[in-house]
Amino acid sequence: MGAMFTDLANFITGGSGVNILYFMVVLPAVLAVLTVIIPRDSFIARSICFLAAALADLILAIALFIDKEGSMLLSWTDFEINLAFRVDDFSSAIVLALAIFAVLVGIYSVSFLRKKEKYGQFYCYYLLTLAMANGAVLADNLVVLLFFWEGLMVTLFGMLVIGDRQKPATAMKALVLNGIADLLLMLGVAATAAQAGTFMMAGVSQLPIEGLGILGFVCMMAGAVGKAGSMPFHSWIPDAAEVAPLPFMAILPAAFEKILGIYLLVRITFDFYQMVPGSVMSIVVMAIGAITIVLAVCMALIQKDIKRLLSYHAISQVGYMILGIGTALPVGIIGGLFHMINHVMYKCCLFLTAGSVEKQTGTTDLRKISGLGKLMPITTVCFLVAAFSISGVPPFNGFFSKELVFDAAWESGMVFYIAAVLGAFLTAASFLKLGHAAYFGPLHLPEGVKAEDVKEAPGAMLLPMGILALGCLVFGLFNRLPLSVIQPIIGEGYDFSGWPHSITLVAISCVVLLLAVGNHIFGYRRTGEGLKAVDHIHYAPVLRSIYNCAEKRYFDPYDIIMVLIKGFAWVCFGIDRAINWVYDVLMVNFIGGLSSGMRLLNNGSVDRYMVWSFVGIGFIALLCLFFV
């Protein structure tokens, strides 16, 4: 099938070597521009164009997935910066995953954004994001990778600006944090290329982590986990949840960025570099994972807004993936990747349910809504499936992938295992709280919203949710299906499908889940409200003050950076004024003066023009004498 597309591409381009890979990038980008060019009033035409792009990408991705091979190279002059693409087992699976989520969230977005302003820009950025993501995954050259990676940052910024045009503080925050991560990545790419002696990925293979390699590895890893939204690059995500349109949250922080970040992390740790289990680097990566799991889930626990809560979980879950990959054990890597896929499914699904709640009630603040279960049964069912999945209840998909990560953590160090289990406990507790508060209990709606107005979400929004929820179940029950795709990535002969191997770990997990339920019942009895079921943790003696600080954003790395920067900025201010003066006053006046002077010289007299020409001739004559 893929070969067919390649033939078609060759036919179109006259057999110049361009193939399907090129279209994976160009097609969404071209259609992205088209969505903005189509007149603003024709929502339908724009939406059709938008969905067509997503579907076309899916078809191409399927073709690639079947074919699983191909490469193209547009070479650029003498420098080694070629537009090079390549596809293999791993990247074809990733591209397929991206395409599937793009279609699902795309369908949802069309319904969600109906009658909203700026939807055209959203479509455009969405498709550009898709194009950039495809490019980043398929890139076969570090510079090309970097190009698309930075492009993703731009579209991210654009999407955030749509949401909060007046005061794009969140967009700035995202830009700064992502910018730092990307700068690190750039540094890493430079160091890696210096060590490998080439920019082409074929030459960057299994480098040892030593010397310059340490710098390259650490910086590239920072770039990758930063994109995935791990600590300490995470803090824009909860803020974005408040201002950005919901499909944005579902597609970018929940889906694309995780997939891309983890993809790159795996590429770095096992392809570009050679990470050995138990090595220092492995421990560093695992530590990042463990800290992310625990801290983010702690913050998630006390959130009172569905979107914020979910976005903290999006951070926390990425910790599991990083932890799994950080172990450098086959079981951990596969667990991490499997968890990534699962996470994207259930977190996407959760965000979509939050979106339908928002669409119907106008808010996602848990203090204003409860008992929606009866009004929105299908949404509730989807939520439950996804919540079970994220909490690791068997036999949903999250359970299996978490077990694999637990297994790896158990072998790598008790401290990581404990962190992972603690994370699982708190995750379960916070979802019990969320589910209980939002969907069960007595009906409670925000002021001005009548119960009869709150209906089930429209079909186009339910369809993606339903598919994702079903997927959670299918990937759990038939986990051989996804694992058979993932396992070949790290080599032959691994099989972790079926029921988890270690009975002990499963038992511990079940006990932890039961504990979480117990904890919830305890809290609920104490306060009488589902929402406050975890208050005893929130207001526990020591934790209370820490949480207070956290709520005031004392721990937000962005704010810390900003405070430092403020001091620095103050010093720089004076210098800046001076430089600014040079640019704003001196340069402008100089150029303006030069330009006005030229206008005066050009006085309309043909004699004057001839004199100028003679000056030019004299100049040429002098040059001739000089060169002779």
Partner: protein, 102 residues
């Protein structure tokens, strides 16, 4: 030493200098056209001489004939522009043609 070549080169230079000097210093549009003609004479001279030198007399004659035709048409067009300008402005002073500047 070759007196003829030196004489021709010198004469050509002097004619071109005269033409260019006239172009810059005169204020009359028709005189400008005359100046262009003077310069073109020098070019004709040079081309004919080049043909005479390298034995391609026939070719250089073809060149010269073509140049003469071109010259006439350019002179006619220029005279037409000068006359139009005269009808519009009432004189031929090139200094009046400075509405376009900047």
């Amino acid at each position: 030493m070759n007196i003829l070549s030196i004489a021709i080169l010198t004469a050509a230079l002097l004619l071109i200098v005269t033409g260019l000097y006239m172009l810059v210093r005169t204020h009359n549009m028709i005189r400008i056209i005359i100046a262009v003609e003077v310069a073109m004479k020098a070019i004709t001279l040079l081309l004919a001489y080049a043909g005479w030198l390298n034995g391609q007399t026939a070719l250089s004659q073809a060149f010269v004939v073509t140049i003469i035709v071109m010259e006439v048409v350019v002179a006619v067009v220029a005279a037409g522009l000068a006359i139009s300008s005269f009808r519009k402005n009432g004189d031929l002073d090139i200094r009046r043609l400075n509405k376009l500047n900047g």
